[in-house]
């Protein structure tokens, strides 16, 4: 296990070193991505101010949702870059996946270490700042339990989107066509989660409750953190389902991934 982590660290270092070969472009990228987030959130803030909130949630409360999702999603995007479906699809089609099979290392580890979009770090930090600001400004009692549960929710969201990435990548073993459709779940889910679930119509909400349980990752925990009432009258433990939802999706994704590798090994490229 120690060895695996060490190798992972080294593989990541390789990626980062390659990116640092162009320091100016890298700095521009890093700063640029951060700036974009400011512009995006700034626009959202201006709109929310003009419309005086959305679905009964104030700007600060939306910032809470927004910050959490941005932090988690971009952290995932950084760590799971190797599993970005179009990128992984190229890896497979170009025959580089075989190279991974020829090394005495775990496959998942190698894919994770094959790419690290460090420029996303800008968005992680900015998302974090927005989140902290919201936490500070919101008028809520912070208990120890809440503080402990916050990182759990963060990890759950990262697991959830990471799982979606892994599922998308596994699909590329079979076909690369229209893999962009997976963006509906990843980027679509991400955008959807930055707003309170009350604004979406019934079947959209049911989809993100029962089929892809995104509602338990951000919205329900937020209801708990912000002491807001539950408009859908779910059982009181609903806000604490986040780790189950996130972990469950990740576990299912990894099982599917292993199945995909077995399929690849019996049919070749």
């Amino acid at each position: 296990m120690r060895f695996a982590l060490d190798v992972y660290r080294r593989l990541l270092a390789v990626q980062i070193r390659a990116q640092l070969q162009y320091p100016v472009a890298f700095a521009l990228d890093l700063g640029g991505t951060a700036l974009i987030l400011i512009v995006e959130f700034g626009s959202l803030a201006l709109i929310l101010q003009r419309f005086e909130g959305i679905g009964g949630w104030s700007l600060v409360e939306v910032a809470f949702l927004y910050g959490m999702v941005e932090m988690a999603f971009n952290t995932m995007d950084m760590l799971f870059s190797g599993f970005d479906p179009p990128v992984f699809g190229r890896l497979v089609r170009q025959g580089q996946f075989d190279q991974l099979l020829l090394r005495p290392l775990g496959i998942t580890l190698q894919v994770l270490g094959s790419r690290c979009e460090t420029r996303r770090l800008g968005r992680v930090v900015q998302g974090g700042l927005i989140f902290m600001l919201a936490v500070g400004l919101v008028d809520v009692r912070w208990t120890l339990l809440k503080l402990v549960y916050l990182p759990v929710v963060f990890a759950s969201v990262v697991s959830f989107f990471g799982g979606l990435f892994i599922i998308g990548s596994t699909i590329t073993f079979w076909t690369v066509e229209s893999i962009e459709a997976i963006n509906v779940l990843t980027y679509g889910g991400h955008e959807m989660m930055t707003f309170p679930m009350t604004i979406y119509n019934d079947w959209l909400r049911r989809f993100f409750t029962f089929i892809v349980p995104a509602i338990f990752l951000n919205y329900y925990p937020a209801l708990y953190f912000l002491d807001k009432p539950d408009p859908f009258n779910l059982p009181p433990f609903a806000p604490f389902l986040a780790p189950l939802a996130g972990g469950g999706i990740l576990a299912a994704a990894l099982a599917f991934w292993r199945f995909g590798i077995r399929h690849y090994a019996s049919t070749g490229s």
Partner: protein
């Protein structure tokens, strides 16, 4: 161990889906898929002893790469048995892969954006190579493969020949007992080819590394391999010494001669003129009757020659010949 590779009735079948044409076909494709079975490897058996240097030949699509993929553990067989170093490759992937080295002519095993030396350092770590062995191997390979001029160059900037040498170094760094080479000299010039061949020979003789070499280039085989296996359409056509192959199926070779002046008559004993164009003539001769050097001797005794080259029989021609003349029993 007496046998490092044991292959018994190895099979690999692929299902290739047939694409129905047109709109109606596209609809029917949704409901039921028609496929045909391609037998890439169809009952291949052989055994390899440690320290052998074996050539594995065959035309394109013969099943070479498929066999190699199964031997390296990339592909799971459809049937039969396969043991490498007392292991089933695809079942114990990581353990198996730690004992072999592989070089693929078309793709590199190194990291594209990194200088060669950094890739090698990373490999040292991944294969857990003890520092003194790493240093010793590096010293030896650097000298033999002349790596120093481009050790600090990123892999993406290397020429094909340089990349091949770097890949060879990478494949042997961890002292594998088995080395798989898939078209290692493809696309290289004559000098580079010879250098690679010398290195392979050295590795096999001095280190006792068993080498399996697939190639299209018969000169690779002639210069390196004592034993040759020929595969076509998934079946093993020949498995034996290179000399046997040459004796039994050598066949006709061609010599291209550019004369120093115009000659009306350029005939010579035991060889046929099959092409004639100004000062150029192409002779065909039987290996069993006349060697190339003998023919050259006869020609230069009678005519003034400016330049000449030998056209090697390629593997496709040899295999075709084996089929046509049904020289193989069973």
């Amino acid at each position: 161990m007496s046998r490092i590779i044991v292959v018994s009735n190895l099979q690999k079948h692929f299902r290739v889906f047939k694409h129905r044409r047109g709109m109606g076909g596209a609809f029917r494709n949704l409901f039921s898929r028609q496929y045909k079975v391609v037998r890439a490897v169809d009952g291949v058996s052989f055994q390899i002893r440690p320290g052998e240097l074996v050539g594995y030949l065959g035309p394109n699509g013969a099943g070479k790469s498929t066999t190699l993929k199964m031997l390296t553990g990339l592909l799971v067989p459809s049937g039969g048995e396969l043991w490498v170093n007392d292991r089933v490759p695809w079942r114990e992937r990581q353990a198996h892969v730690a004992t072999i080295g592989a070089v693929f002519g078309q793709r590199t095993t190194l990291w594209w954006d990194l200088p060669v030396i950094e890739s090698l350092d990373l490999l040292q770590y991944i294969y857990k190579i003890p520092p003194h062995r790493f240093r010793r191997n590096m010293a030896e390979f650097r000298k033999m493969l002349e790596l120093d001029p481009f050790l600090d160059t990123p892999v993406r900037s290397l020429s094909l020949g340089q990349r091949m040498r770097a890949d060879l170094c990478a494949a042997l760094l961890h002292d594998p007992i088995l080395l798989f080479l898939d078209e290692p000299t493809i696309g290289l010039d004559v000098v580079a080819k010879e250098r690679i061949r010398q290195f392979i020979r050295h590795v096999n003789r001095e280190r006792g590394t068993t080498v399996i070499l697939t190639t299209h280039d018969l000169s690779d085989v002639e210069k390196l391999c004592e034993r040759v296996m020929i595969i076509d359409q998934g079946r093993l056509l020949f498995d034996g010494a290179l000399d046997t192959l040459r004796e039994r199926f050598g066949g006709k070779r061609a010599l291209v001669v550019d004369f120093a002046q115009e000659y009306d008559d350029v005939t010579v004993a035991d060889a046929q003129v099959i092409e004639r164009d100004g000062r150029r003539a192409v002779y065909q001769f039987e290996q069993e009757v006349l060697t190339a050097s003998e023919l050259i001797g006869r020609l230069s005794a009678r005519y003034r020659i400016r330049d000449l080259s030998v056209r090697e029989p390629d593997i496709e021609a040899t295999v075709r010949r084996i089929y046509e003349e049904r020289l193989l029993e069973g």
